[in-house]
């Protein structure tokens, strides 16, 4: 295994670790807002590392640039979806009793 392949593989593994952390947060956090934190921050960071690792493994700069474009599109959609979910949750919270976690 050449050094480039090893680096790429290590980056992908690190990305999967971030995804694992995000999934644990999704399952274990108490309410919508903290789960959105776990989803957007951890998962997008994981996607960045996976994309970087795949770009290194692919070896061609054009493929790597296209993968980074995919990551940017993923960022935009994750940001807007998270905002809309949080907005909707906030509105339903105002209508019913507050469901955020009490410290």
């Amino acid at each position: 295994m050449s050094p480039a392949e090893a680096v790429g593989l290590a980056l992908v593994v690190v990305g999967c670790g971030f995804y694992g952390a995000g999934t644990v947060g999704l399952l274990r956090f108490p309410d919508v807002y903290s789960r959105l934190h776990a989803l957007t921050k951890a998962d997008n960071q994981g996607l960045f590392f996976v994309v970087l690792g795949l770009g290194v493994l692919a070896g061609h700069w054009r493929v790597a640039l296209l993968l980074i474009a995919i990551w940017l599109v993923g960022l935009v959609s994750a940001a807007v979806s998270a905002h809309l979910i949080a907005r909707h949750a906030r509105r339903s919270d105002r209508r019913h009793t507050s469901r955020t976690a009490r410290p």
């Binding site: 599109v73 935009v76 959609s77 940001a79 807007v80 905002h83 809309l84 907005r87």
Partner: protein
């Protein structure tokens, strides 16, 4: 056991596990979400099996579009009558032996079929031999448009009939409000400005790349439907009670282009449904893409027509 086989086994287990969750979820909403995940794993299976066109189509149409249609129907059910979406747990009494028997039967058929030796002059081999003569590099597009053009033609007709059926069944009820956010909501305007043109670009790329690389008219049509769904959900396109002339023309354009070129080939002295050249393939594929996008967006919006908002 190689790494590839390990991945295949994991994907197979994921398929079985997710289908179990679709069938035995706690609520209808979770069933639908698990189904979208199932579609995603099926798309991964397609790419592992070496069929990238199918992976693109499954991700866009099978997981994305079907999921969106189901969520929209779920929303209508909830709007119509509150707890209508409640379900009671399934009754496993009689059905388990039937299900096990069916699964075993299918597996036995598969085992027998996998053991059969492949015939020398099978259709797939002949397609691959004759492909360079059509000017295409993607064998799947070749089969869809050149060798089995009649199947694709009828598929377009089925799509149109499904839309007409949905119109007939929905009655003359005035279309309600479909969107809950509009361009003035934070970030949604930015999403529209960045994503809508991007989807059109990607759809066009998939269409043009489909002749030589994985892609094609159906995947491009599905991506374009994504753009349409985005516009409908953000209120940029409002449902109207009647379909306009432009909408109707766009709906039938795929079918019409295909029929015209197919029948026109007879006038040029060739058998029906032959493509006179690569220009015909591009024309028909573009018409198919636009047709599919308009049909699917109307099916999603469940209205007769869509019009830009007047503000």
């Amino acid at each position: 056991m190689s790494v590839g086989l390990l991945v295949d086994v994991m994907l197979g287990l994921a398929l079985v596990g997710l289908s179990l969750r679709v069938v035995t979820g706690q609520s209808l909403f979770s069933d639908i979400v698990q189904f979208i995940l199932f579609g995603l794993v099926v798309a991964l299976s397609w790419s592992r099996l070496g069929a990238p066109d199918l992976a693109l189509a499954e991700a866009a149409i099978g997981a994305g579009l079907t999921g969106a249609l189901m969520l929209m129907a779920y929303r209508r059910l909830v709007q119509g009558g509150g707890e209508d979406a409640v379900r009671i747990g399934p009754r496993p009494l009689l059905a388990l032996p039937v299900a096990a028997l069916t699964g075993t039967l299918v597996a036995v058929i598969g085992l027998v079929a996998l053991g059969v030796q492949r015939v020398a002059g099978a259709a797939g081999d002949r397609v691959l031999e004759a492909l360079p003569g059509t000017g295409l590099g993607n064998p799947v597009t070749g089969v869809l448009l050149v060798y089995r053009g009649l199947d694709t033609l009828l598929e377009l007709a089925v799509l149109l009939v499904a839309l007409l059926g949905a119109w007939a069944v929905s009655g003359d009820a005035a279309p309600g409000r479909l969107h809950q956010v509009d361009r003035r909501t934070p970030l949604v305007g930015a999403l529209l400005t960045s994503m809508a043109p991007l989807t059109i670009l990607i759809a066009t790329h998939l269409l043009l790349a489909g002749t030589d690389a994985p892609g094609g008219a159906f995947q491009a049509g599905a991506v374009l439907t994504g753009c349409g769904v985005l516009l409908v959900l953000t209120g940029t396109l409002r449902p109207t009670a009647a379909a306009g002339l432009v909408t109707r023309l766009l709906l039938v354009s795929g079918l019409a282009a295909f029929v015209l070129i197919g029948v026109g080939a007879v006038a040029l002295g060739r058998p029906t449904m032959t493509m006179p050249g690569t220009w015909a393939i591009y024309l028909v594929e573009t018409a198919i893409m636009v047709s599919i996008a308009v049909t699917m967006t109307l099916l999603f919006a469940r209205s007769r027509g869509l019009a830009p908002e007047r503000s």
